[in-house]
Symmetry: C2
Subunit: 379 residues, 2 copies
């Protein structure tokens, strides 16, 4: 089972390759250089002999560093690994400095590349370091968390956190290749797996009805071993295709791309109010989807039965559907106002119209938001 | 006397406006929003009412800060000034952090902008800070040194220095407008003026024979008050047009843009070996142009009379034509090899073929380079 999904962009197109065991082909694929833009004689994505920085974190490197490096070295690359501490709190300019320092020491050239082997944190940082070294060198994304596979690694958003706000510092920088090896999910903590499933459900609601229906048909998907290889492949290919479609239509978030923020309006507020600890991103998005679904229902935009079907999927993923205990609704309202996507004081919500289609609205009555948040307060 | 030079790029085009006294129109022009991409109803370049960060240094701000801010505020913008210390050694990530901190404090939004009021150092830093805030907000370049007017402010290269190398960290980020008010050159130190003239001569040699001939016809141009308003306007318009032409043909330095490095191969080596102090950038480029001219002559590519005519212009600008005393030729050879533009170990030289045309060569014999460097050693 192997799938290649092209991401077609005006400036630079690239492939997402989804293949169990694909990590062992990382080197050969970089050297072989197929891709949507490339004819048969296009040459390698990165020239063999070139220097690569492979950026990872301790856990991921322990499991997969050796095979990744072996595959790259066998294909003729010279690889320098850099292991950064794990965790969102290290997604800072300080880590970018470390990557840049190694880039200097290794004398990376314009034709060199960086390889991100890890979750979204490693992917975002490595992408940003590559975007800003010599004004942009190649980056290869090898996402190892489900969330990074279906979301963070695709679309070229890169960056780090400012001490006072998430993802405020960054750049758009598209990868040359996204390589997804689903077998690495075996070692992912189950709560992280569910966080990724939350984004998969999101694609089903806003873009891909067959994906939604496949999830409905599946007996379970609350942990890796409950998911068949076929279902996992479907979740990955459909989610990646959805993100690729949206990104291709709107590379730099002028319009359509905003629908990817479904569930993220309330989600971000919940994350930030719980200090990015108690509730993880995927859990917050799950709660946010429940809220947005109910808002759409109350506004007469989405039918009650669809809202209920979404609720069932979220529960099947063992994701939360209620606000964490103790969260004050006034504080959520304030946090919504200070989101960086607020334009001219209007909070923007993504609202489903049917399963597989959604739109952006800045016309949601704040009183309705409060009413819905009250409905989903935990008892 | 007023000129508008469009820079036409696939993604975002913009105007360079050259107008004596233009600083007073900064606000109105941002609000009026003409530009090569824009139809009559296109709306403002930055929406009035928006927040602007104006980044400058103490000297430049003292002279021109007040008029710039007045013009922007009268047009309805809300301006926060940020004054960074002057000098290349402050072109660091630490300064970018300061800009980002103010961007956070002032709650800049996607529609906000940064304005660079200063020389190339301020321009490069402000451009990079804007490129990386919220993954890219608008930047307006208001260059105040001759070098920044004819070179740094145009073309979208932005960045800062790495502790161990110049301009290693950066991004491409095109401005929304470049506003050049030649009257501000009155206060520029004369040595800085000459550094800019060095780049003007460069454009004459590699791209624009009429510019070269106008310089030949002028009695003097070794300091501001020896240059007529007409000649200055010609120097600015032709140089900006040359850079705009080259950048439009090759936005991200894939090929043609490399000719802008005429004089810079040896120039960079001289700068770095003299610790970026004894010899400034323009002076180093002047020496580099002499070297490259002689190399082209020795290779039979450029006629001796043209090499001599170039020499005369450089002397007329009171720029150096010989290596600084005490510089060791072995060290220059080593520095050439470690330049970031070296590809696969080959040093690239830009060589003139005639006045107004040049090309890039990696076929220059290192022995010839040494021979020419020996010729231009100071007695
Ligand atoms: N660039 C984008 O478009 C985009 C989109 C969404 C999220 N993000 C960013 O992504 C980050 C979140 O990504 P994430 O959820 O992957 O977080 P993460 O990178 O912190 O990974 C989650 C945890 O899983 C571990 N892990 C990852 N893969 C593993 C594996 N195969 N085996 C064992 N452990 C593994 C990591 O060490 C980490 O502890 C955030 O910083 C977010 O801002 C970016
Ligand atoms: N981005 C690019 O494409 C590009 C191209 C060339 C150079 N650069 C960069 O530009 C920088 C050099 O630019 P620069 O030569 O303008 O240096 P600079 O910015 O340091 O300015 C030179 C000096 O002139 C002063 N100054 C500037 N305008 C003045 C005025 N009107 N009145 C009085 N004093 C004034 C400054 O305070 C400074 O002391 C370097 O960092 C270089 O890397 C960038
Ligand atoms: Zn998300
Ligand atoms: Zn220069």
């Amino acid at each position: 089972m192997k799938s290649v999904i092209p991401v077609k962009l005006p400036q630079q197109s690239y492939d997402i390759r989804i293949a169990p065991g694909g990590l062992d082909y990382l080197g050969p694929w970089l050297a072989a250089g197929s891709g949507p833009d490339l004819g048969p004689d296009s040459g390698p994505l990165v020239r063999p002999g070139q220097k690569l920085l492979l950026v990872s974190n301790p856990v991921v490197f322990k499991h997969y560093g050796k095979s990744a490096i072996a595959s790259l070295e066998q294909a003729g690359y010279s690889v320098s690994p850099l292991i950064l501490p794990a965790g969102e709190r290290y997604k800072t300019m300080r880590s970018i400095e470390k990557i840049h320092n190694l880039a200097f020491e290794q004398r990376l050239e314009r034709g060199s590349a960086m390889v991100a082997l890890g979750g979204g944190v490693i992917g975002d940082m490595t992408g940003f370091a590559a975007a800003t070294w010599l004004r942009g060198i190649a980056v290869i994304q090898v996402p190892t968390s489900l969330l990074a596979m279906v979301d963070a690694a695709i679309g070229g958003k890169t960056g780090v956190n400012h001490p006072q706000g998430k993802n405020l510092i960054g750049a758009f920088h598209q990868p040359k290749l996204v390589l997804i090896d689903p077998t690495v999910l075996a070692t992912l903590p189950v709560r992280e797996f569910r966080a990724g499933v939350s984004e998969v459900i999101k694609y089903g609601v806003i873009w891909d009805r067959p994906l939604f229906e496949a999830l409905e048909a599946a007996p379970r998907f609350d942990r890796q071993r409950t998911v068949s290889d076929d279902l996992l492949q479907m979740m990955l290919t459909h989610s990646c295709q959805a993100k690729a479609d949206v990104v291709a239509a709107d590379e730099k978030e002028g319009g359509l791309r905003a629908i990817l923020n479904y569930g993220h309006t309330v989600g971000h507020a919940v994350e930030s109010l719980t200090g990015y600890r108690q509730v993880n991103h995927g859990e917050a998005v799950a709660i946010g989807m429940v809220a947005a679904g109910k808002i759409a229902e109350e506004m007469g935009l989405w039918e009650a039965s669809a809202v209920q079907r979404q609720q069932v999927l979220i529960e099947k993923a063992a994701l939360p559907t209620q606000l964490p205990a103790g969260l004050n609704i006034d504080n959520i309202a304030i946090a919504l106002q200070s989101d960086k996507k607020v334009q001219a004081g209007k909070v923007r919500f993504v609202l489903p119209q049917q399963i597989g289609a959604a739109f952006v609205s800045d016309q949601v009555d704040p009183a309705l938001v409060r009413q819905v948040l009250t409905q989903i307060q935990s008892a």
